[in-house]
């Protein structure tokens, strides 16, 4: 919402000299109306003044430029060159002086144009950042000047170069010379034309006529013809164009600041209004907040309508609410409407509020919306069949062409304004083209209605057309506001002379309006805020905001539908007592222990362990594309593909909730690989989302590891997994070869177990999986279940006495079939090595050479120790014998 400080002064006496922009923004922001930004409009336009043209002659070195002398209120006129032909001696024109700034950021400097001094520039409408909506009288209609004729083919001119006054051009059209010309009103000139044998005197509306010009004159219609009338191309009359200098018809004199004239002597404040305060989306609402914030009186005006046309609205119009989605419909009628531009002050206010002026009727509806916050609509009543308005939902198959020219298919939950047979507007969103105000509109029905906000929002959203009106309606407007708003519109009609207001108001309610009352509970409010605000101060704040109090009953004003609870009253009090005046005071209360839960501690511990091994933490999206399951080579019927599907995803790539972290990790590894990072070692403790029968998800966490690089191989990855388990104090893990996982290399993948619990899977990514990511490199990944890690983690360690007797080591080397897993051999050794065997480490695996094909040599280092004696060689030999026996029996291994 844009607020003009100039307009605000009409309601609250708060000149810029008293409260500057910064103080205003600060005070309003801390009282609840957040100021986004303030713009001093005068900064956009500088050094442009009103000039009066005192002399005008042809440029000596140009066939199309003019040299003018302009009185800019300095005594001595300035000489300026211009290419526009619509200026005349006596015209008031916007004159950019040396060092002027135009709204588009252009700077104007004095200089020379084709050798002639030009001390500034005359400005067009466009150069001032305006359109003909802002200055409707600035529409330029050029005459086709025969002295500007440039034939398309110089060999075959349509008009001969030596044509003179009185020569026939075609039909009744003759060449005519301008003998004398004098202004005769806005865009009108009293002109004497020499048409050869006689002179004609008449008033013409072409702005580019000057004494001595030769024009095409239609003797039958008494008209000076334009290039368009002659069906000529623009290049045939290159200087007879619809562009030119803005000729001012305002109350101004040479030297006046054009910025002021355009209403740019204003500061515009942009507010961020929270959705609970639609009452602040207008001048009066913000003025009320301003008045309370600065402790000033609020000056409100009660509209007065004379309604001097005869009859009564009820004689010619009938309004029926057929659907309670329309809460209230208030209407007035205006007849003998005269469509015209609205006055400068209204256009200026509309412009500074960020809207575009159109014509008096449309501008009045917009002006009232800006002032009162009540959207209004004006119907051409002649187009309302049978003079009846029915507010109902659209019927099956109904369509409407809205004012923006688009045909809209309506659905049966869309509230519409209809006549007896068809919709003439989409309620609260946009009017219909079939009842649009046009130049010859005679009777206008002003609609000032209140609709159900949610319904308007649904309609606007499904039609894809959020308008100024729907944006307000959807937040829920004050149903009491329809009456004063329609009155104000009619008052403005009379003020502008835009028509005659018909006596009487039609006001239909679908249900009686309700009032909210609350009890003033000062102690409760202070207890909630932690303050000591007096009851008197609370009452004062509430009354200034428009609440009325009877004893301790608070009557909530109709525009404050957001206030429905004592805590809302507390907020009103707090806002104007000052949030920043509320003390800073700990409540104390019961002490709570706080801290991390056991699972959170576990998560932190795993993260710490990963980082200590050099892994970097990543964060990946929880949603993936269903095609990612193909990329990791899951079978088409893999049950894990059954994912929660987002019905309205941003795109395919983020359309389902992942049931595996693998694609997320592979995506990040691939990205790093493609960025030519030599190595990446990554981890994430992320969730997967497993569909539950109730439509929700189980969201278990997965510890996801991923890496590639020169130093990374299967056993580095395995080392990480082992280190994590060891850090958690888990029992010794077992690794079993996993050939069936389609994502992983069938010979380099393992499941990791602790006891009976499968903790997860690890391995090298299958080369075909990697290929699906466009990568020809070895990626290593592990997926460990956080819940499993939690289940297998060790209890708090208990101190074991340090060994008092030395240990003995024995190395053994056995030969066995190459297919025997070393892990199982270690398990076997530890299980059957006897009471003194405390550790067994693999230190060599060897094939080839003297080892027979299909066999391998495996060497272990055994640690043998007792807690109560120094062991002898005999003990050691006994242990080795047990180990060899076991290995022999179980795996057919023989000592080498």
């Amino acid at each position: 919402m844009d607020l003009s400080r100039k307009w605000l002064n009409e309601f609250v006496d708060l000149p810029l000299s008293e409260v500057d922009d910064r103080s205003f923004a600060e005070a309003m922001s801390v009282s609840g109306s957040k100021v986004e930004v303030t713009e001093d409009l005068s900064e956009r336009i500088k050094n442009i003044v009103v000039g009066r043209i005192v002399k005008l002659e042809k440029h000596p070195n140009s066939d199309h430029m003019l040299v003018v002398l302009v009185d800019v209120g300095e005594g001595e006129p300035r000489q300026i060159c211009t290419g526009a032909w619509n200026v005349h001696v006596g015209d008031l024109v916007p004159t950019a002086l040396h060092n002027a700034l135009l709204p588009n950021g252009t700077k104007i400097m004095r200089g020379k144009l084709r050798g002639v001094k030009s001390d500034g520039m005359l400005c067009s409408l466009k150069e001032l950042g305006m359109t003909t909506h802002d200055f409707p009288y600035a529409v330029i209609k050029p005459a086709a000047l025969l002295n500007d004729y440039h034939p398309l083919d110089p060999a075959k001119p349509s008009i001969s170069a030596d044509i003179k006054a009185g020569d026939k051009i075609f039909g009744k059209v003759v060449a005519a010379a301008v003998k004398a010309i004098a202004p005769a009103g806005v865009n009108l000139w009293d002109t004497v034309l020499d048409i050869g044998e006689s002179d004609v005197e008449s008033v013409f509306d072409c702005q580019n006529l000057h004494e001595g010009d030769l024009v095409a004159y239609d003797t039958a219609k008494n008209r000076v013809l334009t290039p368009e009338d002659l069906r000529a191309k623009q290049e045939e009359f290159p200087n007879c164009i619809t562009d030119g200098i803005l000729i001012l018809h305002e109350d101004c004199k040479p030297g006046d600041d054009v910025g002021v004239l355009l209403g740019m002597d204003d500061h515009v404040v942009e507010f961020e209004i929270t959705p609970n305060r639609p009452d602040c989306l207008c001048m009066i609402g913000l003025a009320r907040e301003t008045a309370v914030t600065f402790n000033k009186p609020l000056k409100l005006h009660e509209p007065v309508v004379k309604a001097e046309a005869g009859g009564d609205i009820s004689d010619c119009a009938k309004i029926v609410i057929e659907d309670p989605l329309c809460v209230r419909y208030t209407a007035r009628m205006v007849k003998n409407v005269k469509i015209a531009p609205s006055p400068a002050w209204m256009r200026e206010r509309i412009r500074n509020a960020g809207m575009r002026p159109i014509n008096n009727i449309v501008d009045i509806t917009n002006y009232v919306m800006l002032e009162y916050g009540q959207p209004m609509h004006a119907f051409d009543f002649a187009c309302v069949k049978d003079g009846e308005i029915h507010v109902r939902c659209a019927r099956e198959g109904e369509t409407i062409q809205t004012l923006d020219g688009t045909a809209r298919q309506l659905s049966t939950n869309m509230l519409c304004i209809c006549d007896t047979e068809k919709p003439v507007g989409v309620a609260g969103v946009m009017g219909g083209a079939n009842s649009e105000i046009v130049g010859d509109t005679g009777m206008v029905l002003f609609e000032s209605a209140n609709f159900n906000g949610a319904s308007i929002r649904r309609t606007a959203t499904s039609l894809g057309m959020r308008t100024d009106a729907s944006g307000r309606y959807e937040k829920g407007l004050d149903p009491q506001n329809t009456w004063p708003a329609v009155q104000r519109a009619c008052e403005l009609i009379e003020l502008l002379g835009a028509g005659e207001v018909v006596p009487g108001v039609i006001d239909v309610l679908s249900e009686p309006l309700k009032e909210t009352t609350l009890k003033l509970e000062p102690d409760r409010i202070n207890a909630l805020l932690g303050t000591d605000v007096s009851e008197a101060q609370m009452r004062d704040i509430l009354e200034r905001l428009g609440f009325t109090l009877e004893g301790d009953i608070i009557h909530v004003p109709s525009w404050r539908a957001d206030v429905e609870h004592y805590s809302d009253i507390a907020e009103e009090v707090a806002r104007f007592y000052g949030y920043n005046e509320i003390p800073i005071q700990f409540a104390g209360g019961q002490t709570t222990a706080g801290g991390y839960s056991e699972r959170q501690q576990l998560e932190r511990r795993i993260g710490q362990c990963c980082r200590s091994m050099g892994l970097d933490e990543i964060i990946t999206y929880s949603f993936i594309s269903p095609s990612y399951y193909d990329k990791i080579r899951w079978a088409p019927d893999d049950p894990r593909r059954d994912s929660l599907r987002i019905l309205n995803p941003l795109g395919e790539d983020t359309s389902i909730m992942r049931t595996t972290v693998l694609p997320s990790m592979l995506e990040i590894l691939t990205r790093n690989y493609n960025y030519r990072n030599k190595e990446a070692c990554l981890y994430e403790i992320g969730r997967i989302y497993l569909k539950r029968p109730d439509g929700m998800a189980d969201e278990p966490r997965i510890v996801s590891l991923g890496a590639y690089g020169e130093k990374i191989d299967f056993f580095v990855l395995k080392g990480w997994v082992e280190a994590i388990l060891k850090d958690l104090g888990a029992a010794r893990p077992r690794f079993t070869a996993e050939k069936a996982n389609p994502s992983y290399h069938p010979g380099r993948c393992a499941k990791v177990w602790v006891g009976d619990v499968c903790v997860g899977v690890l391995g090298q990514i299958h080369p075909l999986t990697a290929l699906n990511y466009g990568v020809d490199a070895a990626f290593y990944c592990a997926e460990l279940s956080f819940d499993a890690l939690d289940a297998v983690k060790g209890a708090r360690p208990v101190y074991k006495p340090l060994p008092r007797y030395p240990s003995v080591t024995r190395d053994i080397s056995v030969v066995c079939a190459a297919s025997v897993p070393v892990g199982e051999m270690v398990d076997c050794i530890l299980a059957d090595g006897g009471e003194y065997l405390t550790d067994c480490r693999l230190f060599d695996v060897y094939t080839g050479g003297r080892i027979a094909g299909g066999m391998k040599s495996v060497a272990f280092s055994l640690t043998i120790r007792s807690d109560d004696q120094t062991l002898t060689d005999a003990h050691a030999e006994e242990t080795v014998a047990k180990v060899l026996k076991a290995l022999g029996e179980k795996f057919g291994a023989v000592m080498r």
């Binding site: 929002r457 909630l528 509320i582 005071q585 706080g594 991390y596 964060i619 790093n672 990072n677 990446a680």
Partner: protein, 341 residues
Amino acid sequence: MKELMQNLREASLRAIAESESPESVEALRIRYLGKKGELTAILHQMGKLSPEERPVMGQLANQLRSEIEQAIELRKTMLGKLMLEKKLETEAVDVTMPGVEQPSGHKHPMYNVLDQIKDIFIGMGYEIVDGPEVELSEYNFTKLNIDESHPSRDWTDTFYFDEDARVCLRTQTSPMQVHAMETKPLPIRMIAPGRVYRKDEVDATHSPMFHQIEGMVIDKGITMADLKATLNLVVEQIYGAGTRTRFRPHHFPFTEPSCELDIACHKCGGKGCPTCKGEGWIEVLGAGMVHPKVLAGCGIDPDVYSGWAFGMGLERLAMGEYKITDLRLIFENDVRFLEQF
């Protein structure tokens, strides 16, 4: 004989002083003091002396022996020291050569910041609460006093899993307020950080998945003054002691009164600059007193208990902390980015 001893003394002490290795010193010891050594040889001649001379000479001989012994020990110690010095010299390394590289993993920068916040709250007796991301609309919206027609429920804003819009991806961590109130014993002091999801296209400041931190206190006698005191303390710990704050009225359906907390722009100190878009203040978080309707809806009597809650965005905080200019970097996980923190 006296003369002999005198000669031996001079010769031995000179030889010891000139010896260059522990081995040669040892050889000298044997040569002079050994069983067949020169001093012994002299002593063997004692028998030829008169009884009066013997004790005198004996004493002289003992003196000489201990003198030589001392000289030998001294020389040995000195040679040991010299040799060590020489050895150390040969062992010298180029200390400017690089050390052996150790693995060093990095926490994600955003979680660095999150951990800092968690620590602040744990220090004040708060617990950390986790909850579901696939959430019922009832918890994400309804129980938070967000009515059926609220725009945030739109399919253009929220991701849904069923046509009835019953199950969604949570759009905020605020449903954790409801979960906590429904399941935890009073009083409650908690924060709930986590992932949230909104239908925003990815750009430098938006992501369809991002993180929030929710915080809530429910106890008897909790006031807005307590909210201010706590959040001021938190802000000072994040942004430094003496950080100026401003509480500004705002609107959230589930708190009343509601506020936003601004801090004075650290770049310009509040004068207004491009960082704070000329306002002099930077918005940090939204907060407010838990709405009595929300309390009652969770089975807590608003006449007995009150509370406050806040929510803040983690990405923006981390980006500000580390001057990260593009949100996409956070989820890109380029190791060259990760290893900076």
